[in-house]
Assembly symmetry: C2
Amino acid sequence: MQVFPVDFQPAGRRVKIEAGQTILAAAQKVGLQLGEGGLAAPCGGRGLCGHCRVKVVTGAAGEPTAVERGFLKPEELQQGYRLACQAVVQGPLKVDIPTESLLGVQELQVEGLEVGVVPEPLVARYTVPLSRTTIDNPRPLWQQVAAELGTKIGAGQVRVDPNLARDEEPLADESAAVVTVRSEEVINIYRRQPVPPPLGLAVDLGTTKIAGFLLNLETGALLAASGLMNPQIAYGEDVMARLAYALEGDADYEAIRQVELEGLNNLASALAAKAGVEPTAIEEVVIAGNTAMHHLLLKLPVAQLARAPYVAALTTPLEVKARSLGLNFAPGAVVYFLPVIAGFVGGDHVAMILASRIDRPAKFTLGLDIGTNTEIGLSYNGKMLSCSCASGPAFEGAHIAQGMRAVSGAISAVRLSDDGNEVFWQSIAGAPPLGICGSGVLDAIAELYRCGILNAGGRLDTSHPRVRRPLGGGPPEFLLVPSEQAGIDSDLVVTQKDISEIQLAKAAIASGTSLLLEAAGLELNDLEEIVVAGAFGTHLRLESAIGIGMFPNLPLDKFRQVGNAAGTGACLTLLSASERRRAEAIARQVGYIELMNQQSFNDVFITSLMLP
Amino acid sequence: MQVFPVDFQPAGRRVKIEAGQTILAAAQKVGLQLGEGGLAAPCGGRGLCGHCRVKVVTGAAGEPTAVERGFLKPEELQQGYRLACQAVVQGPLKVDIPTESLLGVQELQVEGLEVGVVPEPLVARYTVPLSRTTIDNPRPLWQQVAAELGTKIGAGQVRVDPNLARDEEPLADESAAVVTVRSEEVINIYRRQPVPPPLGLAVDLGTTKIAGFLLNLETGALLAASGLMNPQIAYGEDVMARLAYALEGDADYEAIRQVELEGLNNLASALAAKAGVEPTAIEEVVIAGNTAMHHLLLKLPVAQLARAPYVAALTTPLEVKARSLGLNFAPGAVVYFLPVIAGFVGGDHVAMILASRIDRPAKFTLGLDIGTNTEIGLSYNGKMLSCSCASGPAFEGAHIAQGMRAVSGAISAVRLSDDGNEVFWQSIAGAPPLGICGSGVLDAIAELYRCGILNAGGRLDTSHPRVRRPLGGGPPEFLLVPSEQAGIDSDLVVTQKDISEIQLAKAAIASGTSLLLEAAGLELNDLEEIVVAGAFGTHLRLESAIGIGMFPNLPLDKFRQVGNAAGTGACLTLLSASERRRAEAIARQVGYIELMNQQSFNDVFITSLMLP
């Protein structure tokens, strides 16, 4: 049977697949997730949902099926749009995955810590009486507003944001209006009903994911939470690729920045729609971003961020008018950027420390926020030290043969019988398994080691009945779920390469922990608490993480899994000026350790590759 | 002899002139001022200076002379550029007057009041020690600056303007730097010598003129002062024409705004060059603008400014980043806009009141700032009232047959013998007279009335030997200077139409004064002081202004002529935060009287047309 290459854009993945297979099968083979909610979801590739839209740029993919003619308009078909579950490979293909198919707005991990906070917002609301502007009463709107506010917040201090004044009809025609004031400046006005409460948006801006939280600034109530994939992924999966893109020239920098802005505007629109308001009702924004995302959004210099010693251009907190950035919120809304600590320790880490309260000097605490980069913070004796380690995207399901994100159909937990002959697994939402997410891979490898099927060097025991060579030859793999039980037409396996990926990730995290303790002059047993943050960190099985040596071997009751603490920290600083000051104090206080500068780094890293 | 029409663009003036006359003669006939320093100056149209460049768009203007071939490049000649003093009218012409010929940067009235002020600038300078950013010291520039400043202005308060951070190399490579801080934000940095002092720019932004003052913010020293014609003149001489232009659509609004921005950037560059610095050394800017100029620069809504009751969109003071407006100063420089009072009483009036100190409740004071619009302020019993009257551009030399601005060659003072047969005149710089400026016209008309050559209705006595009918017929005119004594080839005269123009102007000012007093319940004799501001107001002869009834008939020692008080006021608010607060208090305190709303306006105005 003939085999043809299929190139997927903009992901840059290539796969060879037999003629007659669907484009969806090709995408699955290469780990691409199409359609809302993940791989060919929600219909499982049965042609029922129409979500797996792709565009065939060059090559033959058969005639459109009746299903496609039902979901796609004639002009779309003419432009090459197809449903990946219907179009079949009949020759070499170049396939474009539209952003909406790859990156649809979807629920991510957004639950956070429950942290008590008394709302102390930076904006305040006032209702001001007005009288109609006429020849006899020639006082325009803002003059009346300023005079009224003057009696409340001090005469002579009142300003009006010029963008707001540009947008509004200057003559008063109403008997009252509601205004929002920030630092003595009027930043928004409601001249008729309905008047939504003052709303704020907190954003955890990561390389892969953007999580957003819409809050009532007066009550602190969470009105909506949502996440989306950072659309900048189209410009490179990791930070370095994106920095390299931005460094190619001003137009490229602006392009990659616009994509991020668009993502933020879309996220805000989606959140506002959930809450039944307009995005222009958002009057204050906080962004807790990793340093690269922070710099790219602000268009700060990034050359120095892309080479040793990976230095941030600007670490201080910032207040910028949303409009001046290109964000469509209330006319005078301010975006507050949490301070960053270093090139790879950003505002998200500050927010994580804030939310998990590990800055409190009472305990010796280690805080880990696991992501493509894992930031680790250590609090001891009233001091704080942080470092960053490149743990890679394996825990997000990337670079894992059958990896996928933690969405419906992902195997999220694995146990083996002691002899390893029986596999017990759980999938998210109980759906037929389509792939394995981070916690599932971690479990599988920890269990393989526990059962002796994997040695300390990470090699599979090829004599075990479930360990086999793949069909076309190559390194061995462990059969997790045979195709009969899977939601896809192939066996689900853990490959030798998957194990290496996890070894690299766990070695990065373990060496960071070890070197941070060394720099502080502490021993493992000095640690009284280990806080684990992030979506993956919250859902992983601690026994597995300890089992492969990713986390220190300490009693389980010392661990605290806290969810998206960075998001929670962003919410805290959105709601409270005191929390904002506290976050800034954290950023100034934290000492940064550059792991690459530690003489023992290479030794420690290589040792840490061993299991556990 | 044949007569042809000549159309001047963009001024929109048309004149009919005999074949063989120069374009310069045509321009003079229609009152246009070409060349630096005024009408055909400095050479008087003798082909010596090359300043009267115009562009012949259509029509025949003879072959270029040797003089023109000397001053103009071949490609310029090919494009139609000519010297107005050389090119002769040989048919109907359309002539474009390039901005540089009409509006060249030149010295205007910039001297102001001497007002004592203790500099209390809004920016502060700090020298911060730095150490080189290296692998072993990975602290970037701004982190070091913020840490150093934190010890001086309070930890946790330091911000860096994002534009500044965008512009600067983020790695430190020096042992110290000088930074400028405003409201806890770093807005400028000097990383190598020379380090200019902190500089500020104060601007009096008028419809016709823009005056700029460059000051040392620490010492208060005036480093340079300059003025230029507002280049927006190309879009209309008066405020209404410019508003109409802006209202034609967003692109038109943006175009007229860009021209004003360009004017401000050019003014700043000229001032900086005089002081031997770059415009980017300007770290704080104050703009005292009339309301229309203020709105057009900020792109605020202006529809309501162009129709009764002529309401300002925004009257409150504003702070805007210069970069966000399009002004090229220090990266983080702030532009402070003085508050405005009403549609035709702007920040320049506030600045005038501030500088002339008429807000002090000790005296009953009237303050007049004479321009195309004349603003009048009245201070009494601790209260203030202001109004605006449309006095027109006659005192700027416009709409006067042989009017010109107050530059070299303008007749600035006139006396008559009691019988009116002898005329004594002075010209600016003692140059041969080329035309008459505002103070000269005012003098001439006052003297004509004093000598009985003009009656109270403003009619010339046609039996007087110097009163004659013009050559082509029409209303009578008074011969001021015969052509033999003039610097141009025609007699200098005062026409019946000139007298009407001045009557209208004086009636506007007198009615404003009268109605303001009426609104306050005061009599003329209650006034203890009359402050007269503005270039024309400072140079006019009080006796003449009183003689025609433009100013109230009060003892001369009650008058105080204070120069460009608006400019001085702008300087005061630039130098001192206290003065800024005081200006804002003035703006809030002043009550505004709309003359059109006063029932007695028409009666008073018509009565005021009479001399005196």
